[in-house]
């Protein structure tokens, strides 16, 4: 790595660390993380007081047999609204709030390049999405284990896998689930940079996700479904088949990149070239 690259990377890491520190100081941060932790708890509590199960959701029929089914059920449950919202809460706000509060001009007149500041912010938004997903997964595994036990799990092909292997598959599933979530973060970041309005960016991100979902149910457009961003939230299911179905996973990787990278590029260019005239 050249000294210039190291300098740029070091600056981006400085911004990243301070973005995390700012997130720690903000109440809104805990709202999203709290929701990510509370939803699995509420789900497990609901399971505990009811004898039936959500049979129409993958792994729904096994929630009383193995606690490891619960995080997988929650992945399906949370993909429509919860995790995209939590992700958009920070990604949509991270540039727009600085613009709105006038602090963008404060940090842009220091010694760091705009690209370094943007990179630090993008990493912080991605970290928040990762943290929310991780928190939901950990709470779901622990609460699910307590409620239904760490038992073996029947996968989508009907094969029983050991608890240890199932735990690994759950972790991998959450990893694959992270890709579309990061693409959502990129869209939120783009709207944050373009609109300069936190509320518009957060709501806009969810509206875009909703519109993408609607495209798939329009007459004659059902063939687009495998390439819609929101459908990539189901790609992890390929890991739970025997043999492993890599097609949806591989497709998810490039489809998410197709949505995420251009959004990230637009956000970067707008941030780099924008006039900071407010505040």
């Amino acid at each position: 790595m050249t000294s210039r690259a190291a300098e740029l990377g070091g600056g981006a890491l400085t911004v990243y660390r301070w973005e995390l520190r700012k997130l720690v100081a903000l109440k809104r941060t805990y709202l999203g993380l709290g929701a990510a932790a509370l939803v699995p708890l509420a789900f497990v509590i609901a399971l505990a007081v009811r004898s039936d199960q959500p049979n129409d959701i993958p792994f729904g029929r096994y929630v009383h047999q193995s606690g490891l089914a619960i995080p997988l059920v929650l992945l399906t449950f949370a993909s429509g609204f919860l995790l995209p919202l939590i992700t958009a809460l920070v990604a949509g706000d991270i540039v727009a709030a600085e613009d709105h509060n006038g602090t963008l001009k404060t940090i842009l007149t220091r010694s760091l390049e705009r690209g370094q500041i943007f990179t630090g912010k993008a990493l912080a938004a991605a970290t928040y999405a990762l943290l929310a997903l991780f928190l939901m997964g950990v709470v779901a595994v622990v609460a699910g284990g307590i409620e239904s036990g760490f038992n073996s799990l029947v996968d989508l092909s009907g094969t029983t896998v050991s608890a240890a292997r199932a735990l690994g598959l759950v972790a991998a599933s959450f990893g694959v689930y992270l890709w579309p979530l990061l693409a959502i973060a990129c869209i939120g970041l783009m709207l944050s940079a373009v609109t300069r309005n936190s509320a518009a960016a957060v709501v806009g991100t969810l509206v875009i996700a909703l519109l993408i979902e609607l495209i798939g149910i329009l007459p004659g457009l059902s063939g687009t479904q495998p390439y819609l961003l929101t459908r990539q939230f189901d790609a992890w299911q390929g890991l739970l088949r025997r043999p492993t179905d890599w097609d949806p996973i591989a497709r998810s990787a490039w489809v998410c990149a197709l949505y995420g990278l251009p959004s990230l590029a637009v956000a970067y260019l707008v941030f780099l070239r924008r006039d900071v005239a407010g505040g």
Binding site: R21, T106, T109, V276
Partner: protein, 324 residues
């Protein structure tokens, strides 16, 4: 042609910023020399803040360029701001962080060297006792002072301040001016935008006056004062006869009666000859008082123009620069 590396602290040439049909900054040229305390004077909305934002690299000019110590912020980014600090409009900070933590953040963004100076700059702006409190609870004046502290963290050679006394009470304004004066006395170059004449008059030795985006005067404050027409008020034992003598005297103009006095325009030599002529005419001079145009007069003449005309610079900008 702009100076290469190591040029003056600020050198703007042909600076233009358009927003659609509106031209906020219109071919602004100005040069701030090392050690200057330079006033950027103009009414609200004249284009001062926009020009400062361009200087700090916050907005792109539609035309022209700015160089800070020979470096262009548009081409060299943050590196062009080495040795430069300041703020535009009210300085803004993260309200949920303490004053000290805000400064720690900014010091980190500057590379970390400033962290060791945080106590020093907080003391310089007398905020050391409130440094642990959240900025959200600070008064406007405290935020202004924190803005200065944030600028001083960079140990700048050039300080750009946009209306630093705006919104402060009289004591706060006095403290702010004292602080700027101390910094300038320490050798720092200061570019201070303001619409407050008294502030500029008290602090600055050179000024640029901007009106509707255009510089209508740039040069030494003393030259600006001299450029105003000198007037005299005269009182004699017989003003009616004195009026005739005045009107007949070469070099004396605009003679008019005003109350018990006559007012006229003349240079020092013509007034000396006039006083001799009045005595030779048998008139006693009971008062002869020079009346220089105030900075306020000149400012309004430059920024509002005389009734019925647009911009009416007392000194054409180019001529003023040459004179300076």
């Amino acid at each position: 042609m702009l100076a290469p590396d190591g040029g003056p602290p600020v050198e703007a040439r042909g600076l233009v910023k358009r927003y659609g049909d509106i031209t906020a900054v219109d071919h602004v040229d100005l040069t701030v020399g090392a050690g200057d305390v330079y006033g950027f004077l103009g009414p609200n909305g004249a284009g001062k803040t926009t020009a400062l934002r361009i200087m700090l690299g916050l907005i792109r000019p539609s035309e022209g360029a700015v160089r800070l110590f020979g470096r262009d912020p548009m081409l060299e980014g943050a590196r062009a701001l080495d040795g430069v600090a300041g703020f535009v409009e009210a300085p803004q900070f993260y309200p949920y962080l303490s004053g000290r933590t805000n400064l720690e953040l900014l010091a980190a963004y500057d590379g970390g060297d400033g962290r060791a100076r945080i106590d020093e700059v907080l003391a310089a702006v007398e905020l050391d006792d409130r440094a642990k409190h959240r900025v959200g609870g600070y008064s406007h004046g405290m935020r202004q002072r924190l803005g200065i502290a944030a600028a001083l963290l960079r140990d700048p050679r050039l300080l750009l301040l946009d209306e630093p006394a705006t919104g402060l009470d009289p004591a706060g304004m006095r403290d702010m001016r004292d602080l700027v004066r101390r910094l300038a006395d320490g050798g720092m170059t200061v570019l201070l935008s303001s619409h407050l004449l008294a502030e500029v008059e008290e602090l600055c030795d050179r000024v640029a006056i901007i009106r509707k985006g255009r510089i209508v005067y740039e040069g030494a404050l003393a030259d600006l004062r001299r450029s105003g027409e000198s007037g005299y008020r005269i009182r004699t034992s017989d003003n009616e006869r004195a009026m005739d003598v005045c009107r007949a005297q070469p070099g004396v103009s605009a003679v008019r009666a005003e109350g018990h006095d006559l007012r006229l325009h003349a240079d020092e030599g013509a007034v000396a000859e006039l006083s001799v002529a009045l005595v030779e005419a048998g008139l006693a001079i009971t008062a002869l008082v020079p009346e220089l145009a105030t900075l306020e007069d000149l400012f309004f003449r430059l920024t509002e123009g005389e009734p019925g005309e647009a911009a009416a610079p007392a000194v054409p900008p180019a001529a003023a620069r040459e004179a300076a």
